[in-house]
Amino acid sequence: MPEHRVRLPGLTPERICLLLAGGFLGLVITSLHGEAGLIEGLAALVAPPDDPTLRAALHFSWWPRLAVALLGGAGLALAGVLFQQVLRNPLAAPTTLGVASGANLALMAATLMAPGLLAVGREWVALAGGGLSMGLVFLLAWRRGLAPVVVVLGGLVVNLYFGALGMVLLLFHQEELKGLLIWGAGSLAQNGWGDAAFLVPRLAIGAGLAWLLLRPLAVLELNDASARSLGVSLKQLRLLGLGLAVFLTGCVVSVAGLIGFIGLAAPNIVRLAGARRLGPRLLWSTVLGALLLATTDLLLQGFTGVLPTAIPTGATTALLGAPLLLWLVPRLRLHQGDRPPEGGTSIGQRMARPGRLGAFLGVGVLLAALVAAAVGQGADGWHALPPDWDVLQWRVPRIAASAASGVMLAVAGAIIQRLSANPIASPEVLGISGGSAIAVIGGIFLLSSPDNLTLVAVGTAGALVTLAVLVALNRSNGFLPERLLLTGVAITAVFDAVRSIVLAGGDPRGQQVLAWLSGSTYYVDLPGALVVALLAAVLGLAATPFVRWLDILPLGAHTARALGIHVDRSRLVLLVLVALLTASATLVVGPLSFVGLLAPHMARMLGFARAGSHLAGAAVLGALLMVLADWTGRQLLFPQEIPAGLVASLLGGAYFMWGLRRV
């Protein structure tokens, strides 16, 4: 179990909850007073529905909403404690494990293909989707005895994959799915007592089961060997614990939508406040989660009516939670400290002569580019050679840009994976893509009809600000890889929240944002492509002097220091390089791409083990992947175009899951 370096002085879980409960009650009273007067408001709790309108609104909307907020917060916090206990990872949460995105995707698919199912019950559709995605994660991690690192890795991949599938559906059916966008952003609005009545028995059962599992689950705090020596079947216990957490999450998610942060924050706050044993952690986290969500929701309701759009509570909790997460990260002591995590980095065999395979792949890239330039579709169907070579003015920039961004993302990914000795590291995880995406979204919404140059400038500024935040927050700990990744996760959470809020507003400009977010080379013109290609070449070559560092840093800080490397300085330099690479690529193909994760990983699996060949192999594979993804995306649903980033995610994600199973 990770331990905390500091405890909050003078605070116990009881006191925190009491403090928050005071604020919560105050809000309830003032809010009721504002709505209808305190007495009338309280009477509305039990009022029969044939009363005057105002009381009906209180009875059917205000009170059920409060109840669902309390219940939902409690359920998510409980699930969060279970996830974190079982996975021994303080950052495990329903949203990071793919449960939420699975539920989301199931609802989208049902809306489009089998709307009859929704009439039967949205909650069951969501539950099935969430269960399915968690099942997939289990399947991926089964061979490794559901080891925590592999489960988190699998969850991340499933999350990205389902997220990408969801984006495809959304891109082509924005109007039909606009209601789900509200749900996806976590809205607690109620219009009757049905949802509260749905949650009560299910959460009661869940809490009861958690209580029964209390003692066996506490054993999980020991390491695997000690726990096994006590005669506990770890696999079954983990399965049971995770299954229970998924059930709780699914129930809440199906009713209230995606409200991820509570499940992450409540358990961590309680632990920071000094609750060590599982029993008190479960109890106080549940209470705190309920109060946190209900208080946030009450505060938000105060703003409704002032703004032209409903602000979804779930996205707001994530937005408010991110700073807390950033504050939390430097204060967590991760047991993986300075050494590389077990497993993970040893994927793949080292190959004796990587040069030949590299050359072969290079030829592959050239061939792919030629095919992509020649073959395509026009008004009169397919052609192997374009009837009018003028068409190259559209194709060449896209091929060049996709290859270049593939190279940049792959090199960035390879560096960050070696730097952190962590196979789940990727430019997206660092949050730089997210940071620049937030800036671009802001640009699209706040400036009237911005041109591409403005957007590029805005996006670069966003990436640089994110980089500054990353550096500022990690300077004091010497850029420890895990810390850095966690900071990135927090920034990504901000980005997700901003995106959800924007999309839930239902503004038609959301389509433009969506189009860019899904990572298309569509907006690249020839000068742009040349700039990107030049950047890729310069930045790619800039990485070569650092190959020695990249060979040594994965061995751990102590070894690196012993070999005479300034660990902090080299990490900072590499970090800046990664940031530049990521920002340049993000501006072309959007923040959502699997290539930074996938290409370095594939290169490793193919046997490019040393840093030099790893970088080169990843770069070539990255270019190949993106060129193929771009071309496939343009042909598959012609004349509609599936963005290259999405296609890369879908192709790459499937491959990655298959590879993960064999690890």
Binding site: F60, G179, P308, W382
Partner: protein, 293 residues
């Protein structure tokens, strides 16, 4: 990859034919220019002017959301509105491309294919109806159908005036909503199509809140509870929502629902121009009369 085989004679023949087909209309005396548009609102106005656009973006979505006037089958689909297929568009060789400011970022690229005109509607702080009329005239000018544009304006205004006379005695404010899910609606207000039509008909809008750039606000059902106005629900309902509303305590308790005065309208493109405005006016007045009869 299978369908593309190098130097396929059949394919080559087809290409020659297609080439000829492209040549012929250009050689014939062109009555009106070949126009491509990304915007459904411009497309529906063009159709109302008797001009069939050569290509429109997202044809299937147009059929689902705008519906009328119907797009002829030979209109080429350009793909997503935000990312029209440039290769296809260039291949079609249109004389003119029309877009709305929402897609202004595409303009430099589209200009390489054909002259581009940006026509705006729903500009904040301007009178929507007046802007709709000038949009129609501008389109008429671009398509060489000035007379048809004046005719469309005159017809629509006369029709709406006649419809307005039929609802002279209605003083209850209306609340125009479209469901997003069982708990949330879009409420339409200032700077939108429906509001412009309400103004023309002389009806009141009961929504006291603000609206966004596009003339609507996203609101929870509970925000409607305190408003004493007749609810007008514009279809379509999202899947499952109609069933859920039957068991929704809050919905049943809304004043308009309790009194049974709520009316539902067939789908009308809520960001449209004159054709949509006319359809909406017809549907609204008919429904109001039926409900009060």
């Amino acid at each position: 990859m299978a369908p593309c085989r190098l130097a396929d004679t059949g394919l080559r023949a087809a290409r020659v034919l297609a080439f000829l087909w492209l040549i012929v209309p250009a050689a014939a005396p062109a009555s009106s220019p070949r126009i491509a548009t990304l915007d459904w609102t411009l497309a529906e106005t063009l159709l109302a002017l008797g001009v069939t656009p050569a290509a429109v973006a997202q044809v299937d979505a147009y059929d689902a959301w705008v519906r009328e006037p119907e797009l002829p089958a030979d209109v080429v689909d350009l793909g997503l509105r935000t990312q029209p297929n440039l290769e296809l568009l260039a291949d079609l060789e249109p004389d003119r491309i029309l877009i709305s400011p929402m897609f202004a970022n595409l303009e430099p690229r589209l200009r390489r294919i054909a002259p581009v005109d940006i026509l705006s509607l729903y500009t904040p702080e301007t009178d929507t109806w007046a802007e709709m009329l000038s949009l129609t005239r501008e389109l008429g000018r671009l398509a060489g159908r000035e007379a048809a544009a004046e005719q469309l304006i005159a017809d629509t205004q006369a029709r709406i005036e006649a419809l307005g006379d039929r609802v002279d005695d209605i003083s209850t404010p209306l609340l125009l909503v479209q469901f997003m899910d069982a708990r949330h609606v879009r409420v339409f207000g200032d700077n939108g199509l429906y509001q412009a039509v309400l103004d023309q008909l002389g009806l009141d809008n009961g929504w006291p809140g603000t609206t966004n750039y596009w003339g609507f606000a996203t609101a929870g059902l509970e925000e409607l509870a305190g408003i004493d106005a007749r609810l007008v629900v514009v279809r379509p309902y999202p899947a499952g929502v109609e069933e859920r509303l039957e068991s929704s305590g809050l919905w049943q308790a809304l004043p308009s629902v309790r009194r049974g005065t709520t009316i539902t309208l067939p789908p009308v493109w809520s960001f449209g121009a004159l054709p949509s405005a006319r359809r909406f006016a017809e549907a609204l007045v008919t429904a109001l009369e039926e409900a009060d009869a």
